[in-house]
Structures are given as C-alpha cells and as structure tokens.
C-alpha cells in the first residue's frame, strides 16, 4: 500500500492540527497538507500539541485550495459525518483502507464546525463515513485522523491478536508441568486432601484444568514447586 496523505481543509484549532500530526506519526503517516489554516502557519498551539511530531514530519505543505492540495494524488476520500446529496461511493474506514491498493491516495478532512463543503466533497472520488453513535455523532478532527491512520497501520500489521510474553523465561514444556502435577497429586494424597476416593479422578482433572489453562512458564512452575515445598514444611 502506498503512503497516504492527510489533507486538513481550513482547520480552525491549532490544537487539532498538532494532535492530528501526533496521531499520524503514531501510525507511521508523514505527509500532512493544510488548506488555508485559519490561524496561518506556523502555529504555536499546533506545535505544543504535537508532542514533537513536526520534528519528524517536517513542515506541513500549505495550499490555498483543496484542488491544489490534491493535484498530484490519484484518489481522494472525503471524510464526512453527514450523508450528502451526491452519488459517491461511501466507505467505512476499514473498507477504504482495503480499497486503496497502490494509488497515491489522500484522506481529506473538513473544518471542525461545518465539515467539508459540498464543492470540496465534489472534488474527491469517494467518501469515508465513520459509523458513530447517531445520538452523538460528531467526532473530534484529530480523532478522525487517528482512526484512519490506525486503520492504515492495521492493514500493514501482522501482530497476533493475542500473545503471551514470558520475559526471561519460556512456556513450560509439557513434561515439566506433568512432573509438577504428579508431585502435587502425591503431596495432596499424603495430606489426605482426597477425602472421597471415588471423586479423586474428577478432582484431579479439575486441578489439571486450572494449571494447564494458566499457560505457565518454566519459572512459574519452579515457583509452584517452591510453594508446595514451603506449605508442606509449614504443616509439619
């Protein structure tokens, strides 16, 4: 996927420009373009809110019109909270990201209060609609930039949905866990834990379920051995 340009049309609050820049860089986007920012550029509030992002991004490009800002791009998506009276394909954020391919692409965001003007939307190839709570739909400008940048980054990310990091240790090999369970059973037997022998197989299965489910590390199984040893000693 090609890198995507972020175009903010007439952004009003410097804070939002800065927060958008930070959000972009958080997810690896670097091309920020501003069309007629209300307070001009540079903007101290933008820089304060960016948490240093502009040091990495460089200066945003400034344009007088959206048409100029997207001149070199091949496909642009206008973000819009409202449905518009124009026949344009409307994508979810994820749908847009899956649609991009190798085209030089821009995501276009309107001013905070009004969103994009219809004439600006007409310049874009498609719309992105973030499906928000219909009773409280208006999303902050930098937050929408973040969502799109996040979806783009996700498409390039192959992190497993769930991992377990064992630090200096590692997942315990089955044989070592079995050794512990065998020892535990023996100590429990000695301690007369199994009052009714006919229930013993079920109880052992339940104990095993706890310890296998816990995805223990080698170190943790050592700790469990130590705990059992200590408890036996205390008992004596």
């Amino acid at each position: 996927m090609s890198a995507v340009s972020i175009i903010l049309v007439e952004p009003q609050m410097g804070e939002n420009i800065g927060a958008a820049a930070r959000a972009m860089l958080n997810f690896g986007l670097t091309d920020l373009r501003l069309v007629k920012p209300r307070d001009g550029w540079p903007n101290d509030r933008a820089i304060a809110m960016s948490a240093g992002a502009f040091e990495h991004l460089g200066e945003p490009q400034i344009f007088d019109t959206l048409k100029d800002a997207i001149a070199d791009l091949q496909f642009t998506y206008a973000t819009s909270a409202r449905r518009r009276d124009m026949v344009k394909p409307v994508f979810t954020p994820q749908g847009a990201v899956e649609d991009i391919g190798a085209k030089r692409t821009g995501f276009v965001f309107g001013p905070e209060r009004t969103g994009l003007a219809n004439d600006d939307i007409a310049l874009c190839n498609a719309l992105i609609h973030v499906p928000t709570n219909p009773d409280f739909a208006s999303i902050n400008l930098a937050q929408s930039v973040l969502l799109l940048a996040y979806e783009l980054s996700k498409a390039n990310d192959d992190s497993a949905p769930r991992t377990l990091a064992y630090g200096d240790s590692e997942a315990v090999p089955t044989a070592q866990l079995e050794e512990f369970l065998t020892r535990l059973e023996g100590e429990l037997e000695t301690a007369k834990f199994f009052k009714e022998q006919n229930l013993k197989p079920t109880m052992l299965r339940n104990i095993r379920a706890m310890f296998t489910r816990a995805e223990l590390s080698t170190q943790e199984v050592k700790t469990l051995h130590g705990m059992v040893s200590a408890l036996i000693k205390k008992k004596k």
Copy 2:
C-alpha cells in the same frame, strides 16, 4: 458483547478526561470511572472538552484505588505502550474485542506521563498493546480510549465496507443503460466519430467500460441523454 467500562487511573489533564468521554460516547460507551483524578472532580476543562458528552453519560464514578474501581468487573485489560516484565496475555485492540464475550469487562488506562504502574497492571487480567510506530510510540490518552471504543463499536457494526447511496434516484436498470449506449453509438456513427471501422468494436467496448464502471443512477442516465441531445443541437 457486554458494555465495557473505561477506567482512567490518575488522569492528569482535564482536557483528556473530556476528550475521552466524548470519544466513548461517539462509539456508544457510557461507563466512565476515574481513579484519583489529579485535579479532582468536577473539572471545568474536562467538561469544556467533552462537547456535552457528560450530559449523556452522567457523572463519572470516582474511586480511590484501581482495586475499588474494578471490584464488580470480571475481566480487565490494562493498556500499555511498553512491554512489561510480567507474564500476561497481550492483545491487540481488535484481539481484545474479539476475546471479550459476555464478561463484565473494563479497559484500564494509566496517567499521561508514566502509564500504569506495575502494581496496577498486576491487578488486571491481560494487557492491550496498541501497535504504534516504534519511533514515535506515545499515544495521547483520549486517543487510546477512542481506538478501543472504536474497535468495540466495529465489532457490533455490520456496515458494508462500501456502499453507494443514490439519494432520490436509484441504480439504473441495465436495459436503460443499454438504451443509452445504443443511442450514443448511433449518434457517434452519425457524427462520423468512428473513422476506422475495424477499430469500432474495440472503441465501443471501451466506451461501454467507462459507463458500466460508473455505476450510474437512473437520473444520471437521463442527464447523459440530455447532454447528448444538447451537443447534437449545438453542432447543427
């Protein structure tokens, strides 16, 4: 999926509490809990940044400790930008959302500067790690709340990734498009557009490709008919 509680531990900036509340409500979450907010509660900056969200959410619950704040929950995820020296399952945002099921769940966020203390992380069942740019990893507090709320909302959302809304019109039935293409071919023939007859089939196929790809509405095909009529007249 059950509703998820958002727990902010010792949030420093009122602005972030307000922006988090707005982001929650944007995506339909309503249970906000604060553990020892630095500037107490109520907080004028939080209310100013919330864009009215607290009018819908009600007052956040305030707690002295994270342990108290999560007492009624069944499963909690600590959000963390750093890897920790604890053996806990680590989920991506989407991975966590897919994992939740019907458990009463909380997402726990640490203070802006330091993130969650290890003792607070130890209270939680699992970690969520948002995979950000390793060279610029630190994400704003309200932005992380937004990402998680967005992922939760996505899991409940069945929007098609791409739709085309025709407003008052509708997608043109094939027969009406064919009628237009037949007419267009006739008018182009009359106008001696096809200079080399052996290329005519290819050119017609290419013209057809443009108009079928455009996913035209009935209204738009009428407009095209009108355009052709006007152009013929002008020519005469």
